[in-house]
């Protein structure tokens, strides 16, 4: 079988310029690079702007009240008393409650996904967790406000009755109301479970398969393998995951605002009403003016600084982990 080959198209033997020489389009390349750099720098610029503009607006409150602003124990705007400690206290307590409940649950789910579940079940679980992450905060708040508060009210009263004779516990769990530190903390726990689960899962996935198979080959049960190999290998990443959850919990706003009872106070009673920093900003900033507005923006500055610090330390800890945290992060 023969074939007539056509002559190759004539090629200009001497292309314009050599390969090392800059041809046309180099300018576009440089421009593109610069635009990309600017876009990347936008993140830094925005963070810087947030810090500067909010501090600037909050300055009147900072300078007027000085240390009293940061260490005052009374937040009563109607009497011009702006001490943020009750709000900081509320924020910390609520987030700690959330983390205490969310961490064991998240670790359990992450272990379920990575160690126990069949491939198909795994898809289903991640779908459920993704859906949980997708539900807007305000919907959690609405649901909690109408459906959970009555339930919480009776459960809390029952528990308060139960522990009324026991010292310490009867202070922590004294009779209170349906909207309380505990109510907000419990709903918050549900809201931060997806983020802690997804980071924890990423951490568990970095455990070398050889170590796990080795443990199993030595006759360890699955639980012993988890306890002896997976958990020790992941301790750093787990701490990071917990802190990310904590940071998330501290900034969560609407759901907490609807469930905490809007009463800034430092009280050991977890079933009592309280208030957090984001909830206070959210509730009042729209109508506030003058010093009150400054004081509220100052709360924003404090919240910004606290969450930045928490996130920086958390990211340091999970830095070994592949940073795929998706949209839930």
């Amino acid at each position: 079988m023969t074939m007539q080959l056509e002559a190759p198209p004539s090629v200009d033997p001497s292309p314009r310029g050599s390969l090392t020489e800059e041809g046309s389009g180099a300018g576009v390349d440089r421009l593109f690079r610069r635009v990309a750099l600017l876009a990347g720098g936008a993140v830094l610029l925005i963070l810087l702007l947030i810090a500067i503009s909010t501090t600037n607006q909050a300055w009147p409150a900072f300078s007027e009240f000085g240390a009293g602003y940061f260490f005052g124990t009374e937040w009563i705007p109607s009497e011009q008393l702006y001490g943020i400690l009750p709000l900081v206290f509320g924020t910390v307590v609520v987030s700690l409650i959330a983390v205490v409940f969310a961490v064991p649950i998240s670790i359990g789910i992450a272990l379920f996904i990575t160690e126990l579940a069949h491939r198909r079940v795994r898809g289903f679980i991640t779908l459920v967790i993704d859906l949980l992450a997708a539900v807007p905060s305000v919907v959690f708040g609405l649901w909690g406000f109408y459906q959970l508060i009555p339930i919480f009210q009776s459960v809390f009263n029952w528990i308060a009755d139960l522990v009324s004779g026991i010292p310490v516990l009867n202070v922590l769990f004294a009779p209170g109301s349906g909207s309380s530190f505990m109510s907000a903390g419990l709903v918050l726990a549900l809201m931060i479970t997806p983020i802690i689960t997804s980071v924890t899962r990423e951490v568990f996935l970095t455990v070398p398969v050889n170590d796990k198979s080795g443990a199993l080959a030595l006759g360890a049960t699955r639980w012993e393998m988890i306890k002896g190999v997976v958990i020790p290998h992941s301790s750093g990443g787990l701490t990071g995951a917990v802190m990310l959850g904590l940071g998330r919990a501290m900034g969560e706003t609407v759901a907490v605002a609807l469930l905490i009872g809007a009463s800034p106070q430092i009280s050991a009673n977890l079933f009592g009403r309280g208030e957090t920093m984001p909830a206070q900003i959210f509730r009042s900033l729209s109508e506030a003016s003058g010093t009150y507005r400054s004081a509220l923006i100052g709360l924003g500055v404090c919240l910004f600084v606290i969450t930045i610090l928490i996130n920086i330390s958390a990211r340091r800890l999970v830095v070994i982990v592949d940073r795929r945290i998706k949209g839930t992060a």
Binding site: V128, G300, F304, I312
Partner: protein
């Protein structure tokens, strides 16, 4: 079968049959304590999942059952939000009149003089408007930022720093973004500064780091051989990026952006004090506006049966929007996933 038998083994203990070996190696031969612990741990893992899933189902069913009624009517999508619902609510409700809450004159005249048309169009329009504005601001910027991180900066010091700060920015609470825009925009322009645009700014700040990080993850998955092949043909880096790298990763980028959009659509805190309040549809980026999430909150504050109805209805609408976006994102990223290099 050649098993090594210890020399002092009794004669009767002959080679174990395969069934016996299987039994020895199965969990049946574990001590009770170890077996119970192992089973207990497995059950605990399943339980933790149920603890998270049951409230989700509970919440889903209550949101749908409470809110589906109003959403099903055409009025919901086409009519303005009833203003002053607290009052019209009382007029129409004899129970409240009986309890002494109602206006006396209205109650005596039989109550139901006012009919309330339950509409939510302004909030639905406002949600789309603000989210659209935020996307226009954040998505191109975020994608370009990711291009810088993955195609130019790579492991350089500046790129590492930007990457780190982007992760940190993901963790900045949304309410802080709201306070930020409030302090640069609303404080300066007063109430007239409250607009869909201001809310878009806040939501854009929220979306930006999410878009950057998710896009960069997707760009990382594009095999280097594609870039090299393109470069070998003499293509400029920018052209390679625009016509080879980005199209290869487009599915993943879309999915990440959809997740960011879903997140922004559900946000309340940064919106409430940057957008103001309206009860009629406002199609402009200027002037006060409202969103579904803001409506849920403010109707809940109003109280009363009709306002509650509106809040639940808005919740259903919002959840449907967010779920569609989330599921679309999942679907796209599954369907068109690049096989990792």
């Amino acid at each position: 079968m050649s098993t090594v038998t210890p020399p002092d083994a009794p004669e009767s203990d002959a080679d174990p049959t395969p069934a016996e070996i299987r039994k020895m190696l199965s969990s049946a031969s574990l001590s009770t304590k170890r077996r119970v612990r192992n089973t207990g741990a497995s059950i605990a893992m399943v339980l933790t999942f149920l603890i998270a899933a049951v409230p989700l189902v509970f919440m889903g069913t209550s949101v749908v059952s409470q809110g589906i009624g109003v959403v099903m009517s055409a009025d919901w999508w086409t009519q303005p939000i009833p203003g002053d619902v607290g009052r019209s609510d009382l007029a129409g409700n004899e129970d409240l009149c009986g309890l002494g809450f109602g206006d006396t004159a209205e109650c005596e005249s039989g109550g139901s003089t006012t009919t309330v048309v339950e509409g939510m169009q302004p909030a639905i329009v406002g949600t789309f408007l603000t989210v659209f504005g935020a996307s226009v601001l954040a998505i191109p910027l975020g994608i370009m930022g990711a291009v810088y991180l993955n195609e130019y900066g790579k492991t350089g010091r500046l790129a590492q720093f930007i990457r780190f700060m982007t992760d940190v920015m993901v963790g900045v609470p949304s309410v802080v973004m709201g306070v930020f825009v409030y302090s640069i925009w609303v404080v300066r322009f007063g109430t007239s500064g409250k607009s869909a645009f201001a809310a878009s700014l806040a939501l854009g700040c929220l979306m930006l780091p999410i878009v950057v990080r998710s896009t960069e993850e997707m760009l990382k998955l594009v095999p280097n051989s594609l870039r090299e092949a393109s470069a070998a043909l003499g293509t400029r880096t920018w052209k390679t990026t625009v016509s080879v790298v980005l199209p290869a990763a487009i599915a993943g980028i879309t999915s990440g952006c959809l997740l960011a959009v879903a997140r922004a659509a559900g946000e309340t805190a940064p919106v409430v004090f940057t957008i103001g309040f309206v009860t009629t549809t406002n199609l402009s980026m200027r002037g006060q506006n409202t969103t579904l999430s803001a409506q849920i909150y403010s109707q809940l504050q109003n109280g009363g049966t009709i306002a509650t109805q509106l809040a639940w209805g808005a919740a259903v609408t919002l959840v449907v929007i967010v779920l569609v976006l989330t599921l679309a994102a999942r679907g796209i990223s599954k369907r068109f996933a690049i096989v990792g290099s």
